[in-house]
């Protein structure tokens, strides 16, 4: 029995007799790397990655985590307003992000820093959002990576519409829509899946089931495993071990390829765990047991890849030391860049509200400038 299988037997049904037990046995879980780092085969999903790529994936995971740790520290020191940590979800995000091809578009929530990384977004452009400087500094078009969406689920419809555009253009690309387990309860998310299905849109719904929506456990959102919902909408659903970067990469690649080939949407449930708080404002001790976290630490996404790389002789101690050093450099750059980020000018809020400034807004802007000028020279 794997650790993941064990978890299934422990899930308590909060409403006795209501529906099927939440988590079935795990034969459905796609896994290519066990929590111990052992490479296993799956009948439907193989993976073709070079040693070079494997080392690259490890580097991604480690650097993204290092960034996340630094961001949490910066928030604690008052340098960010808030931070939504991805701790524990690195493999789900890096695996999904690295499955994207050039020209594929991704629609993140607010937690997909790992995907941002794979799309070449400068971490500082994510930091500026959480510092309160802007709403995300990157160019969503240049990076094929939409701005973060805070309103739960809204982006799944955008992704679907974007995919309908791709379809109309006859383009050979696909769209990846990120969402959380909690988001699956939103009406808009269900509408997105109906639209995607109805029009066979080239969109893949990538749901990170990190077991919680703030304090609400997954049982509050669904009485059946989430991936099984897809069948009701008329497209395939697959559950992948979200802490296994190889399995995520393989499953997401396959789903995106199917979408590009005109087979329509897939729903991927990446089974993972939010190891940190919901955000730095949250206190998870109020709603979950520390023992649960301890259990999930044994399935850590980075440790298992490291074990595999070492055991298979793909990477040596020097490599890992090198990545650690690179992580520290990255963290230092992020810290410095965050601290040095200039505050925006007040007039910026009037910019870009419309393609062309309206006369009324122009008047308000002038009034704003004059008002602030009236304080100049005052103490």
């Amino acid at each position: 029995m794997t650790a993941l299988q064990q978890k299934t037997t422990e899930v308590v049904d909060p409403v006795p007799g209501a529906g099927a037990p939440h988590l079935p046995g795990q034969p459905d879980l796609v896994q290519l790397l066990t929590p111990e780092g052992e490479r296993v085969e799956h009948p439907d999903y193989g993976i073709d990655v070079s040693d070079e790529e494997l080392r690259g994936l490890y580097r991604d995971l480690a650097l993204v985590r290092r960034w996340d740790v630094e961001a949490t520290a910066l928030q604690r020191q008052g340098e960010l307003g808030i931070w939504a940590s991805l701790l524990g979800q690195e493999a789900a995000q890096v695996g999904a992000g690295r499955a994207l091809a050039d020209g594929d578009m991704a629609f993140p929530t607010y937690r997909e820093h790992g995907v941002a990384w794979t799309r070449g977004v400068d971490p500082l452009h994510v930091m500026s959002l959480f510092r309160g400087v802007d709403q995300g500094g990157w160019d969503p078009v240049a990076h094929d990576f939409n701005l973060y969406t805070v309103v739960i689920g809204a982006q799944t419809l955008h992704a679907t519409g974007y995919a309908m555009g791709v379809q109309r253009d006859g383009a050979e690309s696909a769209v990846l829509a990120f969402l959380g387990d909690g988001a699956t309860s939103q009406g808009e998310v269900n509408e997105a899946m109906i639209w995607a299905s109805s029009f066979a849109a080239p969109v893949v719904f990538f749901c990170q089931n990190n077991q919680y929506a703030i304090s609400a456990p997954i049982e509050r959102q669904s009485r059946v495993p989430l991936y099984q919902r897809a069948a009701g909408f008329g497209f395939p659903g697959v559950r992948v071990d979200g802490n296994d970067v190889l399995a995520v990469l393989s499953v997401t690649r396959a789903a995106l390829a199917a979408a590009r080939e005109g087979s329509g949407p897939t729903f991927i449930e990446a089974f993972t765990y939010r190891m940190g708080a919901h955000t730095t404002s949250d206190d998870p001790t109020r709603y979950r047991l520390a023992s649960e976290l301890e259990e999930w630490k044994l399935r850590d996404p980075i440790a298992r890849l490291k074990a595999h790389l070492s055991r298979a002789g793909i990477a040596d101690a020097d490599f890992f030391t090198g990545v650690d050093a690179e992580g520290d450099e990255l963290a230092a750059r992020i810290r410095k860049g965050t601290l040095e980020m200039p505050d925006p000018a007040g007039t910026e809020m009037f910019d870009h509200v419309y393609a062309e400034q309206t006369p009324e807004l122009a008047r308000q802007r002038e009034e704003f400038v004059a008002y602030h000028a009236s304080f100049e020279g005052e103490q």
């Binding site: 307003g81 808030i82 607010y110 959002l129 959480f130 510092r131 309160g132 400087v133 802007d134 709403q135 805070v150 309103v151 739960i152 909690g182 988001a183 309860s185 939103q186 009406g187 808009e188 929506a213 703030i214 304090s215 609400a216 509050r220 959102q221 404002s281 949250d282 109020r286 709603y287 505050d343 925006p344 007040g346 910026e348 809020m349 009037f350 509200v353 009324e360 807004l361 308000q364 704003f368 008002y371 602030h372 304080f375």
Partner: protein, 325 residues
């Protein structure tokens, strides 16, 4: 016996009292049970009243309001918490097309005693959608009552009065003032929920505010007093229906009126109030009714919110302009 409470704690105690008084009161919302709500307003209530009366809902606001309608039809009194102002919109359809209209459509046969609690306004350094002031959308909808509290006493009594109201009430809570303290006398008797209140007497300018801006208006009045200007401050408390008789009485004395809110000025509450004050006090006015509010821009990133939100200086600036006419 009078107690010193924060607004947050007063709401918590008011909710508790309402639940004790009426077994049909049901609280619903995201994270309100075990966690006690992201602002802890419902802290401890699920423990004491159980999961059937303090419901941690699925993450679906349309579901919260839509099922509240059904529960209300069945004789319950749902109190819905919307986690942040910017997340009420998935429920907006239910609120505007159903909650607001069912009483009239059923010719009074089907009351909708639903309370929709919304922490609103900015000033907490949050990311997008956590700092908005959507009150005008609701005040513009016939069939809804809309209130905004500004003190612990109003929070304590107001939430109970809203729950007891046979009409749906959108109950705005000034989130950045949740931690402000004030006196509450649970043995005392409350002011009516749907009434405004003069909170500081003065002769030169009447300043109207509600929710988080009441404190700002009072601070402005203190500062103005140092310069020898006397501001009368009215806490509007009810935004729909408006209770402006005390305002007219005041403006007839002062001849000047400034309305303050965080929401954008264009078509905000201030616009309606200015129109009514002008109609009712035209011959007493020495200056046009002035509005101080947010700009007609999306709520800005938090580094700019101090530039966006009305503060003491902007209120005083409007007072100066009113006096200058």
């Amino acid at each position: 016996m009078t107690e010193t409470l924060t607004i947050g704690k007063a709401l918590n105690l008011g909710l508790r009292k309402a639940m004790e008084d009426d077994g049909k009161v049901v609280l619903m919302g995201e994270d309100i049970g075990k966690l006690g709500g992201v602002f802890r307003i419902t802290d401890g209530l699920q423990k004491d009243f159980g999961e059937a009366r303090v419901v941690d809902t699925p993450l679906a606001e349309a579901g919260i309001l839509g099922t509240a309608v059904g529960l209300a039809m069945r004789g319950y009194r749902p109190v819905c918490e919307i986690q942040f102002d910017g997340f009420v919109y998935p429920a907006y359809n239910q609120i505007v097309t159903q909650v607001a209209k069912i009483h009239a459509r059923s010719r009074g046969r089907m009351p909708m005693p639903i309370v929709i609690r919304i922490p609103f306004g900015g000033g907490i350094g949050a990311v997008e959608h956590h700092s908005e002031s959507p009150e005008a959308y609701f005040a513009h909808t016939a069939g809804l009552k809309v209130v905004a509290v500004s003190t612990p006493a109003d929070a304590y009594w107001g939430i109970q009065q809203a729950i007891a109201s046979p009409d749906p009430v959108v109950f705005f809570e000034p989130k950045r003032r949740y931690w402000e303290k004030g006196e509450v006398d649970p043995d005392g008797s409350p002011d009516p929920l749907f009434g405004s209140r003069v909170v500081r007497g003065g002769d030169d300018v009447t300043v109207l505010a509600y929710g988080p801006m009441v404190k700002t208006a009072l601070q402005a009045a203190d500062a103005a007093a140092e310069e020898g200007r006397s501001l009368e401050v009215v806490d509007l408390r009810t935004l729909s229906p408006l209770d402006l008789d005390p305002v007219y009485e005041s403006v007839r004395r002062t001849g000047r009126c400034v309305v303050v809110h965080e929401a954008p000025v264009t078509l905000g509450l201030g616009a309606e109030i200015a129109a009514r004050v002008t109609e009712n006090c035209f011959h007493s006015l020495e200056a046009p009714v002035l509005r101080v509010g947010g700009y007609d821009t999306p709520y800005p990133p938090s580094k700019l919110e101090e530039d966006y939100l009305p503060d003491l200086d902007r209120v005083l600036d409007a007072v100066d302009r009113a006096m200058g006419f």
